[in-house]
């Protein structure tokens, strides 16, 4: 079904690679499947494997390897806070604590209403903007304590108003 419903996009992705090397399309197809199904469960992984004529286990292995593939339920918005050096010494720990407090969850968890998943992640290449996070892979720079509430409200409103979201970052704006 994934292929039938997204034929143009999938054919466009496949066209980037030599015809006998279509396995190269695996990562982009997993991003697509993840957006369509909300996460990469067993069925969606099998579907991607079939499109590319790959053994299921090869695709499961790839899903497990990369940080941006979710094989467990996540919210509509995945908040990734960088807690690496130097961010952890420039406000990231305070930001994580603040978000945990406001969302009522710990890092690694999803809110009951399934809107937010909060994660600690490694360097996201925006160290001068610490404390920094990505919401569905869109950068939010210098998220100082006075900006947190407004950011969460806006993200929640986006979800509630039905604005398209992509946990894979396929719609990421600047």
């Amino acid at each position: 079904m994934l292929y039938e419903q997204h034929k143009a996009e999938i054919d466009g992705i496949l066209a980037r690679y030599p015809v006998d090397r279509k396995r190269s399309a695996l990562l982009p197809l997993l991003y697509l499947a993840q957006d369509v199904y909300g996460r990469l469960n067993r069925d969606s992984i099998r579907e991607v494997a079939e499109i590319l004529d790959l053994p299921y286990t090869d695709v499961f292995e790839v899903v497990g390897f990369y940080t941006l593939f979710y094989n467990e339920d996540v919210g509509k918005i995945v908040l990734d806070v960088c807690d690496d050096v130097p961010c952890c010494f420039c406000g990231a720990e305070e930001l994580v604590a603040d978000l945990e407090n406001r969302l009522g969850i710990k890092a690694g968890e999803t809110t009951k209403d399934k809107v937010f998943t909060l994660r600690r992640v490694k360097c996201i290449a925006a160290c001068d903007q610490a404390p920094v996070l990505q919401a569905n892979l869109e950068f939010h720079n210098r998220v100082l304590p006075d900006k947190v509430e407004a950011m969460l409200t806006k993200l929640r409103n986006d979800v509630e108003s039905g604005k398209p979201v992509s946990i894979s970052g396929r719609l990421a704006e600047r």
Binding site: R16, P18, R21, R23, S24, A25, L26, L27, P28, L30, Y31, L52, L54, D58, E61, V62, F65, Y66, T67, L68, F69, D80, D83, D84, V85, P86, C88, F89, C90, V121, K122, C123, I124, A125, A126, C127, D128, A130, Q134, N136, L137, E138, F139, S168, G169, R170, A172, E173, R174
Partner: protein
């Protein structure tokens, strides 16, 4: 000490020309004229020769001469590929991020010229998955350039075709290592390959492949435009040109700066980045070339920022990423965070790295949490010794930098942290 001024930016031209990310602005400022000149009036050998003469060295970390790398590609084997390493993931590094978002066409023009030079008709930009916007943005820019006949078939009537595709990674630092990158681009888990064969001979799909960093390729149009001698008017004899360097941590003005290679660390921190953020908290240590690099302290401030000088000081310029930390930072916590990174990013292929990074984190963690044991510092040093030089790729070795640096410069602080727990 005065700040060394550079006449103009070579790669961060967005700092000189507003909105150069827009194709019309880029064209109005000479954009794609060098691609046209290269494809219509130069031979691939002449381009490679000019890049060799310029002394351009790879900006991704290793500093290998770019023209020499290109000349390793066997002429008779086809197809060939150019792969652009935009997997910028070394903690502290964010300069490719700016080039991609603000000066994308100069990168694309560099790709066209470089692909022609090595004889590749297809180039893939492997961009880290977290640069989701950057990936979409580059795709738009490629489409715009293609519409104007600047990328695609029979470019400038030369008969030469080049296609450029963007390929997003999915969150794995190891994919910055060129052979792991190629595995990932082939749709596999990102584990490094045994070398040789080197990618120049058997790279993507086992075909001859050149993997170059974003900043490296962004230099190329300017070298073709102004020549090797002009390029060499920046920097030093062995490290010519400029380098986009990211600085972060406890400085007044964190950000990217394009420096002439060869200025001292002192000048960079205090004249370019405004010095320390809090006058009451002096500099404690510097992670000078990304999390992989050995740390430096105040006594090293007069080292010139070149590949060779940094190597002579026992560390590296790396990808151009300086993290400056003040005296508020506990050494144990810093080392723990650095090694947590390597533990998380270890690909699992070889045991010294997979197991070693876990051991290091376990020991750092217990010291950080107040349960350090007598002999833990020796244990860390011993684990590090068993890893260094014994891992499949440089990632494992990199995790030892924090251990050895902490012990070398801050042994009393480490001992005190453990003593206080007994």
């Amino acid at each position: 000490m005065p700040k060394t001024e550079i006449k103009e930016h070579i790669v961060m031209r967005n700092r000189d020309v507003e909105n150069i990310r827009d194709l019309d602005v880029y064209l109005a400022n000479g954009g794609y004229a060098m691609a046209k000149q290269a494809l219509t009036s130069m031979t691939p050998a002449a381009i490679i020769d000019e890049v060799k003469k310029s002394g351009l060295r790879g900006r991704g970390g290793a500093g290998f001469p770019t023209g020499v790398k290109w000349s390793f590609v066997p002429k008779e084997l086809n197809p060939k590929y150019l792969v652009v390493n935009a997997d910028e993931s070394e903690p502290g590094t964010f300069n490719n991020h700016e080039i991609i978002d603000e000066n994308p066409h100069q990168l694309l023009e560099g790709i066209v010229i470089s692909a022609f030079a090595i004889g590749a008709n297809v180039a893939y930009i492997y961009i880290r998955g977290e640069f989701a916007y950057g990936a979409r943005f580059l795709e738009q820019k490629i489409a715009e350039a293609r519409e104007r006949g600047l990328i695609g078939k029979n470019l400038f009537g030369s008969g030469y075709d080049v296609e450029i595709y963007v390929h997003r990674g999915a969150g794995a630092y190891i994919c910055g290592e060129e052979t792991a990158l190629l595995e990932s681009l082939e749709g596999k888990i990102g584990q490094p390959r045994l070398k040789p064969p080197f990618p120049a001979v058997a790279g993507l799909y086992a075909k001859p492949t050149v993997v170059n960093n974003v900043e490296t390729l962004t230099n190329v149009p300017r070298i073709i435009e102004k020549g090797a001698d002009w390029f060499r008017s920046f920097g030093t004899e062995k490290s010519p040109g400029t380098k986009a360097v990211s600085i972060s941590g406890h400085v007044k003005k964190p950000g990217n700066y394009e420096i002439p290679l060869g200025i001292t660390i002192r000048e960079f921190i205090f004249e370019w980045a405004g010095g320390m953020r809090d006058p009451n908290l002096p500099l404690k240590f510097i992670i000078p070339g990304g999390a992989s690099s050995n740390w430096l302290t105040e006594e090293h401030l007069d080292i010139p920022m070149t590949w060779d000088d940094m190597a002579a000081a026992g560390t590296m310029l790396g990808s151009g990423a300086m993290v400056v930390l003040d005296t508020s930072v506990p050494v144990v916590r810093a080392a723990l965070k650095v090694d947590e990174f390597f533990k998380h990013e270890s690909c699992g292929k070889c045991s010294p790295c997979r197991e070693g990074t876990h051991f290091l984190v376990k020991v750092w963690e217990r010291i950080d949490e107040g349960h350090g044991r007598v002999g833990d510092i020796e244990l860390l040093a011993d684990v590090g010794k068993q890893m260094l030089g014994k891992c499949f790729c440089p990632l494992g070795d990199s995790s030892v930098s924090a251990v050895n640096s902490a012990i070398k410069f801050f042994r009393p602080e480490l001992d005190a942290a453990i003593d206080a727990q007994h």
